[in-house]
């Protein structure tokens, strides 16, 4: 009995040592790598600010240059928070987000210089404030959400939140009045906000929670048609409901992009949850049908389609399609390596700092720079998919895939709109575009992905039972 007790103690001691090596060695390697990449990212951001000032002013103006170090300080603060609260988190996400955010900031600053905006009138100053707020919110989410499985409990609350956020722009007192086309903005106390940006996170949580519960019945095959097993008729309820909601967004908020974003998110998540391609084909058919009908019957959707298909027609090129056409001319002017930061004329395009920041970046950084930014998005999204793939519980997997896919889809919708692949919409480019709601939402997504990736290591290796 005594030997046994002694050996048990030895076993526990061995166990304890194992834990200690794991906690001390492996994580710090990840965080050190993150620190190196983060310093690289900070150098790039400072470099882009310096180039903007050289290009526009011909000299360094220290006032706004220090603004780029605000973001640097915030990123480093979040890095420290990660060391404390999520030491096993993915080390690549934060540096990528920092570079994207910093590049957007430099371009907005460049446009402010061209337009002569200063102080609180300058979009770049407001963007710095929003960045500060967004990174702080992300850090709070990261530190507060120690166990992401808690989110699963709020499945239906998330649904309710998403619906309320989507309806907000239609409330008379809140809706922005000067908005003629897309009704996706609200004005609260002098600030405009796009509640749909936050709604995409709530929808991701809701879809993940809902599909974890119901995917077994959704995966059951029904009748076979053209070699493909269709879902059963009685399981069509949810997809029809989401489709109706997406069409409602299209009709009442007049925004094809938002509607496509939410519906695409649902399709991908139901595909990942059930592994049935028929859902995706069915959904795409439904959406295309709805979009075509809407484009024929609704005036504002129809005009978007006309402008998209016939942008260079002189009848539109100086009117409705002016922004689109000027953006394309800007990108063409940039060519392969761009005109150089601060040396192009991206300010010709209306709303160059928000909707058309991609056209501005394409003009001044060229195809090479634009593709580098796209590669960064690709890497960010692939990290998200990797986290979902490595996750061992279904809710976390679905949430990681959904949240990273929504970033990818949004990048496609925006850049596709600017480059005339699809009709132009009112969505914002994640991290790059000027706008607080978009920044906050995307930084929250970063925080949730970091939290999920931290849990991958500490997660059960196998879960038996419900």
């Amino acid at each position: 009995m005594t030997t046994e007790a002694v050996s048990t103690a030895t076993g526990q001691l061995q166990n304890l040592t194992g834990v200690i090596t794991l906690k001390l060695r492996t994580p710090s390697r990840l965080r050190n790598l993150e620190l190196v990449l983060l310093l690289f990212a900070i150098a790039i951001n400072a470099g882009s600010f310096v180039l903007v000032q050289f290009g526009v002013l011909g000299e360094i103006e220290p006032g706004m240059l220090s603004a780029s170090f605000v973001l640097a300080g915030l990123a480093l603060a979040m890095h420290v928070a990660l060391r404390i609260s999520a030491p096993d988190a993915d080390p690549l996400i934060l540096p990528i987000a920092t570079v994207l955010n910093g590049t957007g900031l430099a371009m907005i600053y460049r446009l402010d210089l061209a337009k002569g905006f200063e102080g609180w009138g300058a979009a770049s100053v407001r963007q710095i404030v929003w960045t500060t707020l967004a990174v702080i919110v992300a850090t709070v989410v990261l530190a507060g959400l120690r166990n992401y499985r808690v989110l699963q409990r709020f499945t239906y609350l998330a649904m309710f939140t998403a619906i309320v956020l989507l309806l907000l722009p239609l409330v008379p007192g809140l809706a922005r009045t000067d908005d003629v086309a897309a009704k996706v903005w609200i004005d609260v106390a002098g600030f405009s906000f796009q509640p749909g940006e936050i709604a995409k996170i709530a929808l991701g949580v809701f879809f993940a929670g809902y599909l974890v519960q119901h995917r077994d019945s959704l995966a059951v095959g029904g009748r076979k048609l053209l070699g493909m097993r269709l879902p059963r008729i009685r399981d069509l309820g949810p997809i029809l409901l989401i489709w109706a909601a997406a069409m409602g967004v299209l009709v009442f908020q007049r925004d094809l992009g938002t509607s496509l974003l939410y519906f695409g998110l649902f399709l991908v998540m139901i595909y990942v949850a059930t592994g049935r391609l028929s859902w995706v084909l069915l959904g795409m058919g439904l959406f295309l049908g709805g979009a075509v009908i809407a484009s024929q019957t609704l005036v504002y959707v129809n005009s978007r389609f006309t402008v998209w298909l016939d942008a260079f027609n002189p009848r539109y090129a100086d009117g409705d399609a002016y922004q689109l056409v000027q953006g394309i001319f800007g990108i063409a002017q940039g060519g392969m390596v761009g005109t150089g930061l601060g040396q192009g004329r991206p300010n010709i395009v209306p709303l160059a700092e928000s909707d058309f920041i991609i056209a501005s970046l394409g003009e001044e950084l060229g195809l090479a720079g634009l593709f580098a930014l796209l590669a960064l998005y690709l890497l960010l999204v692939s990290r998200g998919f990797r986290i979902g793939f490595a996750g061992r519980d279904d809710f976390g997997r679905l949430l990681a895939v959904g949240l990273s896919f929504v970033v990818a889809l949004q990048v496609f919708i925006v850049i596709g709109g600017v480059t005339r692949v699809i009709p132009l919409t009112g969505l914002t480019t994640p991290f790059l575009a000027a706008g607080g709601s978009s920044l906050i939402a995307n930084w929250i997504i970063v925080a949730i992905l970091l939290r999920l990736s931290d849990a991958v290591r500490n997660q059960p290796r196998l879960v038996v039972g419900p």
Partner: protein, 171 residues
């Protein structure tokens, strides 16, 4: 600021931006969530590993699925296979780390049923064999039908029952 300096700076900036992209891709190479890096020796190893013993209870599987984690674990079972219960047929690579079993989410193997305790049992390597250690569970851990009261070595292919789940260790 001369034209040439600006040209050099702007090309340099693009190169640095791409340098960052490739730095991230380079960091990705070892796939930092740890999965691929640990498996890498496995892919190279099968040539040197002797063919599976003929006494294996199951039909031989491709040698690639055989994890040969550490050289010392020659005789150590390296897989845990669920034989009955909700996830029947699932396998878990064991490695050499201690595996905790229980209903709580921080366990290595989470079993959620009415008969499993929060921290039910622990499976660990001890003197080069796997030992099951019951952590004062309410409904007990059964090795080959007998309740485990003291840390007991788990032989190969012997059912261990926890709640409604049974698993075996296999090589």
């Amino acid at each position: 600021m001369s034209e040439l300096t600006l040209l050099v700076l702007r090309i340099g900036f693009l190169l640095v931006l791409w340098g960052f992209v490739f730095a991230i891709v380079y960091a990705l190479r070892s796939d930092l969530l740890g999965q691929r890096a640990r498996r890498m020796p496995t892919a190279a190893a099968p040539a040197s590993v002797p063919a599976p013993a003929p006494a294996r209870p199951k039909p031989a599987e491709p040698a690639l699925t055989e994890p040969v984690a550490a050289p010392v674990s020659d005789a150590l079972p390296s897989r845990l296979v669920i034989t009955t219960g909700a996830k029947e047929g699932l396998e878990l690579d064991l490695g050499r780390e201690t595996l905790t079993i229980g209903r709580s989410a921080d366990s290595g193997l989470v079993i959620r049923d009415d008969y499993t305790s929060t921290h039910h049992a622990r499976l660990m390597v001890w003197n080069e064999e796997w030992v099951i250690h019951d952590l004062d569970s309410t409904n007990g851990t059964f090795l080959d039908g007998r309740r485990v009261t003291v840390p007991t070595p788990v032989p190969l292919n012997t059912p261990v029952k926890i709640g409604t789940t049974t698993f075996e260790l296999r090589r």
